[in-house]
């Protein structure tokens, strides 16, 4: 039983941690590129901002699903 509990905690840690890692890389690249292109062509910034938020939602989604599964495993299984 304790073995199962420990493995579950490790699985939860991996789910949240690796998800956060991927999202962090994605958001870093996304934000950096957005600032770069806004500095290069400031008149494009508003239209780029909208597209950036859409991509931010796409990046966010997988990590969020991972967090949800992890928390479900931790508290409700």
């Amino acid at each position: 039983m304790e073995m199962v509990l420990g493995l579950k905690l490790i699985a939860v840690a991996l789910l949240i941690g690796l998800g956060a890692l991927g999202t962090a890389i994605g958001f870093g690249t996304l934000g950096g590129k957005f600032l770069e292109s806004a500095a290069r062509q400031p008149e494009l910034a508003p239209s780029l901002q909208g597209k950036m938020f859409v991509v931010a939602g796409l990046i966010d989604a997988i990590a969020m699903i991972g967090v949800a599964i992890a928390l479900y495993m931790l508290f409700a299984m």
Binding site: G57, A61, M64, I65, V67, L71, A76
Partner: protein, 263 residues
């Protein structure tokens, strides 16, 4: 919490169980169906009321809001969709507002609707612990997959309508490797890519809303300090909720635009 002797596991499970009727394949989630239809009716009637009473005089506040939404969707579809089809913009508007309204139910305090349902159930003579009410339709995978399946059917329909059966099969088999002895491999790749579209569409919306709802429930168990935490998470969700509705809409438009294109 409704009653003191519930464990946290029971509390979470109770909040995440649908009110279902029937068995096996024909299990119907009454709360998902009811709330989604209710939200759809709110959308239809409130927007219709504006369309009926709109005039050139001073617009009411609600009319301004509706006009903003319609113009926003109109400009988005114009910049994303490159074919000619009068169905796409109304479809995008319906999906956007409907999904947004269903997602907004996530911001209703987690105990409010289930507690009310339990009181009504108890008044009608049922055991309050077996009354389930999961209000947010988009935290039910059945709802999001149903939405995505509708989009998927439209994708297939317009692919065949625009390119013909032969064109559609050609699209599935002749790329990326355009040599006849690799057509079977192309077909496997393209079918997987085709099926992944509605699946990812459904899972993205479901996952985000389910995670949000679950974290609201977890915060609700922390006692008195839950109020500031609820506030912070709700503010974050004010960004997530319209964003997910918009992503669902824009991906629908992009997929349908791809279905209209010739290669």
């Amino acid at each position: 919490m409704a009653s003191g002797e519930l464990t946290s596991k029971d509390y979470i499970t109770h909040h995440l169980t649908n009110w279902s009727v029937g068995e096996g394949f024909w299990t119907v989630h009454v709360d998902t169906l009811g709330w989604s239809i209710f939200m759809g009716l709110i959308f239809l009637f409130s927007f219709r009321a504006v369309a009926k009473t709109a005039n050139a005089g001073v617009p009411t506040k609600w009319q301004c809001a509706v006009e903003m939404v319609v113009e926003f969707i109109d400009s988005t579809v114009k910049s994303t969709f490159h074919g000619k089809n009068p169905l796409i913009a109304p479809l995008a508007l319906t999906i956007f507002v409907w999904v947004l309204l269903m997602n907004l139910l996530d911001l209703v305090p987690v105990d409010f609707i289930p507690w009310t349902a339990q009181q009504i159930g108890a008044a009608m003579g049922y055991d309050p612990h077996s009354v389930y009410m999961k209000a947010v339709p988009t935290t039910d995978l059945n709802m999001t997959i149903a939405l995505a399946l509708g989009v998927f059917i439209l994708m297939i329909y317009y692919s065949i309508k625009m390119k013909g059966i032969g064109g559609f099969i050609k699209e599935l088999t002749t790329q990326p490797f355009n040599t006849p002895w690799l057509y079977w491999f192309n077909f496997i790749l393209e079918v997987v890519a085709l099926l992944a579209k509605p699946l990812s569409l459904a899972l993205r919306l479901f996952g985000n809303l389910y995670a949000g709802e679950l974290i609201f429930i977890l915060i609700a168990m922390t006692g008195l300090y839950q109020l500031p935490m609820h506030f912070v998470w709700a503010v974050f969700h004010l960004l997530v909720i319209p964003l997910q509705a918009f992503i669902f809409t824009i991906l629908t438009v992009v997929y349908l635009s791809m279905a209209h294109e010739h290669h």
